[in-house]
Structure formats: C-alpha cells, structure tokens
C-alpha cells in the first residue's frame, strides 16, 4: 500500500501539473480538496480519468467519487480493494 501511495503521489503531481509540489509535500491522509492541495472540480475529473487510465477502475457514482478522492490514501485503498476482487 505504501508503495502505491508513493506512486499515486507522483502520478497526481504529473496529471494535475502541480509543478511546485513534491511527493513529500503531500500528506497521504490529508484531504485533496479544499484545504489540502487546493484542487478544483476539473482536477477531480482528471483524477477520475487517472484512476481509469492507469489502473482500469471506474468510479461509478458521485458519492463514490467523494469517498475515493478524499485523499491519496483513500485512492490507494480503492485501487487495492478492486485489485483483490
């Protein structure tokens, strides 16, 4: 899981063009939106595309999206849980 979290941090920085952010700056438990990295709704859509493109898993509903995209850790948990199925 830790390895996936670190990989996700790098992928998020690249996908969202967070040029001034390093993986070490991202707290895996912190909210990605609002206070965290200050991401917006377009970033949310881009993260949904990232999960589907890199890992092949679709987020099905807006409610699921809120849970999955809460933090890097929750994204990693979603991917790990799907991989176990």
């Amino acid at each position: 899981m830790d390895e996936l979290i670190e990989k996700l941090k790098i992928e998020i920085i690249e996908a969202l063009s967070l040029e001034e952010i390093t993986p070490a700056d991202i707290d895996a438990d912190a909210p990605l939106f609002l206070d965290g990295l200050g991401l917006d709704s377009i970033d949310a859509l881009e993260l949904i595309v990232l999960i589907e493109k890199k890992y092949g898993y679709k987020i099905q509903t807006a409610e699921e999206g809120k849970t999955v995209l809460y933090s890097v850790k929750s994204m990693a948990e979603f991917i790990t849980n799907r991989q176990k199925l």
Partner: protein, 212 residues
C-alpha cells in the same frame, strides 16, 4: 473625447523575449521551448500563482504578457468592472484543440482530458487574465487572419467613450505549434483622471499600426 484616450504601456512576447515599451526586460536562450521559456519568465516575475502551470499555452502566453502590464491596472478610482479586455488572434485555440484531439483519437486508448478540454476555446485566456487581476468589465476575443487595427480601434474606443470603461487591455495573442506572439497594450481614458499617467502614445489607428 478621443484625445483623452492614450496607450500607457505595451508588451511584446515573441522569440523567447519579453519587450516592454520597446525595451527587452526578459529573455532566455533561444533553443528553449515555449514551455521552458514561459516557466523561466514566471519565475522571473515571482508570480506565485500555481494555477499558471495548469493553463494551456495560449493562456500562459496572455497571462505572462499581462503580468508585465499589471502595474497599469492598479489605479485609484478604477474598479474591476471598469476594466475590459479585447483580444484577437488567427489560430484561435487550435493548438489546444489538437492536443485534446490526441486524447481521443485512439478508440482503445480513449481518455479525454477534462483539464485540456476546458481550454478548447480562445477566450479562456481572457477568463484567466480576469480571474488573476479581478477584472469584471466587457471582454471579447476575435479570430482574424491578421490584426484588424481599424476594428480594434473602433471597438476599444466605443468601450471607453460609450460603455464607461476606463481601461482596456487589447492586442494580439496567438499560439500554434510552438510558434507564438503576444502584443498587448493598456489603453486608458485620462479624462477626469487624477492619476499621473505614463503616456506612451495617443490611441490612434497610426499608433496601433506602429505597435502591431
């Protein structure tokens, strides 16, 4: 009255060089790509505006050019709704349109990028400038093969003389296939102005022709 309309500052961005009022204020090595050049210019201006990195190239071009004019926008007694932006180019948003097309060309690798899609209109560059500088006045983006001096002169003049704008940023912002040019100028109405204005030239068709 037309005599009270002046150009106070202009900025040209082309060939990895930024020129303000005829003087080179920033340049980088000529072999740098636009992305590399504009990142250096961003750091040079110490912009501290991370959203800049998310913009498409056309928006980065317009935003960086405006940054070099921004001191002319902070005037006493001028509100955000009294500032407008009128821009023009020939390539529209085609550069970004093509980038977006590349994300949907392959049916087996079909991942349309929302972050690219939102820039597939040329007037988004105006939106980015308005957000950054809290501008709420009239704006428009026109696509024309060449810079239409007469049209811009009439439109900007009308906005200032008849629509109540005190400042208009106008000019050309064009980007396609790593070829780019931005020429922007700040046009002001100095009637009833208490500010000390840095007049570069009167706002006339002849002066616009010289600049563009």
């Amino acid at each position: 009255m037309r005599e009270n309309i002046i150009i106070t500052k202009y900025c040209k961005v082309a060939n990895n060089e930024i020129i303000v009022n005829g003087e080179v204020v920033f340049s980088s090595e000529s072999n740098l790509t636009f992305s590399e050049f504009v990142k250096e210019a961003y750091k040079f201006k110490a912009m501290a505006y991370p959203k800049f990195y998310k913009m498409d190239n056309l928006s980065k071009l317009g935003t960086i050019a405006t940054e070099f004019l921004s001191d002319e926008l902070n005037c006493e007694n001028v509100n955000g709704d009294e500032i407008g932006i009128i821009l023009m180019n020939s390539a529209s948003s085609l550069d970004t349109d093509k980038n977006f097309q590349n994300t949907i060309n392959d049916k087996d690798n079909y991942f349309p990028s929302p972050a690219v899609f939102v820039y597939t209109l040329p007037n988004i560059v105006i939106g980015e400038i308005c957000i950054k500088h809290k501008i709420f006045g009239d704006t428009a983006f026109f696509v024309s093969e060449k810079f239409d001096v007469g049209f811009i002169y009439d439109m900007v003049g009308d906005l200032i003389l008849n629509q109540g704008l005190k400042i208009v940023i106008t000019g050309w912002v064009d980007f396609i296939d790593n070829e780019y040019t931005a020429i922007l100028c700040v046009v002001k109405n100095i009637e009833n102005s208490n500010n000390n204005n840095n007049e570069i030239t009167k706002f006339t068709i002849e002066s616009l022709k010289r600049l563009f």
